[in-house]
């Protein structure tokens, strides 16, 4: 009974992370789904401020890119890099960007802080550079209109990404479900959970596969100014900013989980660990499958 209550609470706690990931550019693509406003417990003008900061950062960045490109003056480059890093960090604080899946995965595995850092960094760079590569591929290889085609590319990557994520979620769900609800084996035979780290790159790839619209727009703007190299550098710096935020979230979860597990007995810690893994796996599988269905449909 206690296990079931823990499982239910955890499931509802994790739900709000995943809702708005399917946003499409309403100007250039027919939306398959429209956002539906979800209730929030805390409203804050701080978030409105974040939106305004993003607007200001973006405008300032475009001014500086134009300045660098038209005047050839390299002095503003450093400031531009600082802005790009800040923009990436703020941008990744919101929904999407793989935080939910990354969090769920490290919750269900024994991950070190270093692994959290690497996972966040890989995810951010895959997310950022899938946008950059997508733009370059569409423009130079396929010679297609980016704005129009990007929706199709995004949908295709979403199908792959959500498919992979839901399968990985199913694996976590089954593994922890078995450990949680099967008869406990004697501690002598209990296998120690291996430190997570081996499957890091495929996971980060699955999570970060969907192109980041922010990087796409920066790349397109740079290309329109004939500044391909600058575009790629900015994509890297924005990804670095996103990496800081995503890694920060993951590391906070890793530290928090370790703290919680230290406060209880080893037996209960094991039960909580498997409960978290079970719920995380279920949430990843359910939402991965749901978004997969929407993306395919």
């Amino acid at each position: 009974m206690r296990k079931s209550i823990i499982v239910l609470i955890l499931f509802f706690v994790t739900c709000p992370w995943v809702a708005p990931v399917l946003a499409q550019n309403p100007f250039t693509s027919k939306p398959k789904t429209q956002h539906k406003a979800l209730p929030v417990l805390v409203k804050s003008q701080f978030f409105v401020k974040i939106i305004i900061w993003q607007h200001q950062l973006k405008q300032k960045m475009s001014e500086l890119i134009r300045n660098v490109q038209t005047t050839g003056d390299t002095m503003p480059l450093l400031f531009l890099m600082v802005l790009a890093f800040s923009y990436g960090a703020i941008h990744a604080a919101g929904p999407g960007h793989g935080k939910f899946v990354a969090m769920s995965y490290v919750l269900s595995h024994r991950a070190s802080v270093m692994v959290g850092l690497l996972f966040g960094t890989f995810t951010a760079f895959f997310h950022g550079f899938s946008g950059a590569v997508g733009v370059l591929g569409l423009r130079y290889l396929l010679q297609r209109g980016v704005g129009e085609t990007l929706g199709t590319v995004t949908t295709a990557t979403q199908v792959i990404s959500f498919g992979l994520i839901s399968l990985l979620g199913l694996g976590i769900f089954l593994k922890n479900g078995y450990a949680l609800f099967s008869k406990p084996v004697s501690s002598h035979h209990t296998q120690k959970t291996k430190a997570f780290g081996k499957g890091l790159v495929p996971w980060a790839l699955a999570v970060g596969l969907v192109p980041c619209p922010a990087v796409v727009m920066v790349m397109l703007f740079c290309l329109s100014m004939d500044a391909l190299t600058l575009g790629l550098v900015l994509a890297a710096v924005i990804s670095l900013g996103m990496a800081m935020t995503i890694s920060g979230v993951i590391i906070a979860v890793i530290i928090g989980k370790a703290g919680v597990l230290q406060t209880v007995s080893k037996k209960r810690a094991k039960m909580i660990e498997h409960s978290i893994g079970f719920v995380s796996g279920m949430a990843i599988f359910v939402f991965g499958a749901l978004f997969f269905t929407i993306a395919v449909g």
Binding site: F27, H35, L41, V42, Q54, R139, F221, S224, G256
Partner: protein, 202 residues
């Protein structure tokens, strides 16, 4: 023990922030707008809308639709933009949400669409027909412009956000403020709205 409590803190922060954070990532497109309230001999004729986009979205549209890359939009390029980067907004009421006396008015179509590109800055102009006959009674209209998906954020320009055209026969009051009756983006944003009142001059 104190250390353990400190360690628990990040988890609690994460759980709480899960319900709060969904404001950060969006929007991706930023629009600054001007509204022109247009009257005719019968009363309100509609709203003329000017949207100036952020430079990066402008770059994206220019990349796809300024086919000769001359930095300006010709007739066929404007047509291409209308078909491929504007008409889909019909799904979202063209981002224009009007109420007439508290009753919603559905924007089924727009007219006079045009797009300009000047020094890399993109502007859309279009007209939303909305006929409301003027008489001695005060008519109350609200015009909220927002993207319900919040992929785009729309702000009023600071300088002359609203103008009136051919309004000589009417007494008109306008005000721009946030509309507490409308919320978007997880209930955190009240869109900036034009509150319009008019009646025939006595």
């Amino acid at each position: 023990m104190v250390q353990q409590k400190i360690l628990i803190l990040p988890v609690l922060v994460m759980i709480l922030s899960a319900w709060v954070v969904p404001a950060g990532a969006h929007p991706h497109i930023f629009i600054v707008q001007r509204l022109d309230v247009v009257f005719d001999d019968k009363g309100l004729a509609g709203i003329r809308i000017r949207w100036k986009f952020d430079d990066m979205f402008a770059g994206m549209i220019a990349e796809d639709h300024d086919r000769n890359h001359n930095g300006h939009l010709e007739h066929d390029e404007v047509k291409s933009i209308r078909e491929n980067a504007f008409s889909y907004l019909a799904e979202h009421n063209y981002f224009v949400f009007i109420t007439i006396g508290n009753k919603p008015f559905k924007v089924n179509y727009t007219t006079d669409f045009t797009a300009t590109l000047q020094d890399g800055r993109l502007e859309y102009r279009f007209f939303v027909p909305c006929h409301v006959r003027a008489n001695r009674n005060v008519k109350k209209i609200t015009v909220a412009t927002y993207d319900p998906t919040y992929y785009s954020a729309i702000f009023f320009t600071k300088n002359k956000p609203v103008s009136l055209t051919a309004a000589d026969a009417c007494e008109v009051k306008t005000a721009i403020r946030e509309d507490p009756a409308t919320t978007i983006y997880y209930g955190m944003i009240h869109p900036w709205t034009l509150f319009l009142e008019f009646c025939l001059k006595s």
